[in-house]
């Protein structure tokens, strides 16, 4: 639906934004996404039955330990999983159409224009030998081949301005920019075509706090301007608290809990979420913070039953044998834990 608008070069960007604001229902629906990596040492199910929805303008935080499958999810949504990984099933519906059913060329067109990705390693994500401008222009050109040179340039400069960068950056090379600036260039590229969904994979993990704050505020601003849904991937709960509306907790390839930020911080349901929250340092409770015992499981040899049970303080006998299924609690929170069996 929206693709028609995007492909109309005559229509100013503002018009698209205004129209997008009017949209109400879920802009993104991820259903039963499954990804497996076929490695020499066995099959690793990196995404297992992942489902969630997101409305336009909504910001989702995706947290979880290293290796829990966060980046895999992002890549799966972009359909950029490479061998030895394979998307085994599920759908990613963005604004009505399922990305998984698109042919390769349509999927290429959908990237950036419908679903954009802001990479983790912004430091190295810009081509070192061409100007920033050229890299923005070719992104636009690949989607709007008929748009004129001047229009494209104007669009790019506008994008740079919207992330608080001097339009002069257009003529610069990547190595002439600081880390934060590079990250913002990536954001600018991400919003060039006003996508419905922006996925940002740890956009600030390489930056220091001050810059991190700057970048996050930038994302926040542009997201508001185009009313896109944002998925922020990271493991810094502090950042989540500052930025997102909803938090999804991932554990060993599964979403174990999805709830609003406030619910998550005040009343985490899943024992893993609880451990996560209580491991957080804050100004109030100096000296009282503790980690989650044990280690993240290997995807190759997942514990039976609930993957978290070996580290779970409230594990019950059947947790070791029966795998819990996601359930929607009253109020719309989704939890995957036997503790809440029967509450749904």
């Amino acid at each position: 639906m929206n693709t028609i608008l995007v492909q109309d070069p005559a229509r100013p960007v503002e018009a698209v934004r205004l129209r997008a604001v009017g949209d109400g229902g879920p802009i993104l629906r991820v259903n039963n996404l499954e990804v497996t990596y076929y490695t020499d040492s066995g099959r690793a199910k990196a995404l297992d039955d992942v489902s969630f929805t997101l409305n336009s303008g909504e910001k989702l935080g995706m947290v979880g330990e290293s290796g829990s499958g966060k980046s895999t999810l992002a890549l799966a949504m972009m359909r950029m999983i490479k061998a030895p990984g394979r998307i085994e099933g599920g759908s990613v519906v963005v604004g009505g159409g399922d990305l998984m059913t698109l042919d390769a060329e349509s999927m290429r067109k959908a990237r950036l224009s419908r679903i954009a990705y802001i990479p983790q390693g912004a430091m190295n994500s810009l081509n070192p030998v061409t100007r920033i401008g050229a890299q923005m222009v070719d992104a636009v050109k690949s989607h709007l081949p008929r748009e004129g040179r001047a229009a494209i340039e104007a669009r790019c400069k506008r994008a740079l301005q919207s992330v608080d960068l001097d339009p002069g950056v257009y003529r610069m090379y990547a190595h002439e920019l600081s880390g934060g600036m590079k990250q913002r260039v990536c954001i600018a590229i991400g919003i060039l075509l006003d996508p419905h969904v922006i996925i940002a994979d740890e956009p600030t993990s390489a930056l220091d706090v001050v810059t991190q704050r700057q970048v996050m505020e930038t994302i926040d601003n542009v997201q508001k301007a185009i009313n896109a849904a944002v998925i922020l991937i990271g493991h810094d709960m502090g950042l989540m608290a500052q930025f997102v509306d909803k938090v999804a907790v991932m554990y060993a390839g599964r979403l174990v809990e999805v709830s609003t930020v406030r619910e998550m911080f005040t009343d985490p349901k899943h024992p893993y979420s609880q451990a996560l929250i209580s491991s957080l340092p804050s100004l109030g409770n100096k000296g009282v913070f503790q980690g989650i015992p044990g280690l993240a499981p290997s995807l190759l040899r997942l514990p039976s039953g609930c993957a978290f049970h070996p580290r779970c303080a409230s594990a019950m006998p059947h947790c070791t044998t029966i795998r819990p299924e996601p359930q929607v609690l009253p109020g719309g929170r989704r939890v995957t834990c036997h503790l809440y069996d029967g509450e749904a």
Partner: protein
Amino acid sequence: MSTVALSPPILKQVERPSRFVLFLRYLRRNKGLAFGVLILLGLVAFTVIGLMTVDLKQAYPLSVAAKKPPSWKYPFGTDFFGRNLLAAMVVGMWQTAFIGVFAGGLGTLIGVVLGFISAYFGKWIDGTIRTVCQILTPIPVLLIQVVIAGSLDKRDVTIVTMALIVVLLAWMGPTLVIRSQVLTMKERQFVAVAKLSGVSDLGIIFKEILPCLLPFIAAAFVAQVFSAVFAAFYLAVLGLGPLREPLLGNIIWAAQSQGAFFNGWWWWPIIPSIAMILILGSLALINMGLDELANPRVRRSE
């Protein structure tokens, strides 16, 4: 006291395959390397079995009937001078291997030693070694080798002198490679940790850095062997090698000067050519594979 909980026991013991098995598995992923190793093993087997079973006297002139095409009796035929090309290939391969390994080994050794000295001690030593290497690099080595070989007394030209000529200007490559690797290694934190553990300079070189450089050294060695074989071949093809020896280049050179193709003795130049192609090809493949092994970013991981 400690608030830290123990990690839970790992339920299933992850079996750890031996390095050899891992290497075999790696070969399965890195087809080029596997192919190269396979060819090379084949050549080695050919040479070793040949050395044991073939009458090596037949690698020299006037030992068998001349100009016979390949047959059951002479699988590779015989040449104008009455060499059994099978025996000649065996000896030639062995000599090529000798030159390659000797020159390659020596060149690599010099390179490793200089590279380490240069990188580890830095300052003017590094400056000197690096500048000398960089200055010598643009000089077309093969030409200089030709010049040197050409100004030698013919009686002095033996397999060993050939190898030495090759070494003479062939150590700069490994020196620069090893030097830059040591430099990056030196900055790696495990070196800092080793220092903190009281390890001496020499200990750091030999126990910490050297083992990590093994893939690079191996790659440099193979590259070195390649260029040594190549250079020796060139010298021989130009007629600058030890004439009597059945070096592959010599045989091709002799075939050329006797008009082998025109006379219909095609097997005479073709067989050593194929042998040369197999040797150089397998070395190139192995080199490529080792490059990949040495460069973890490129390495095909499990």
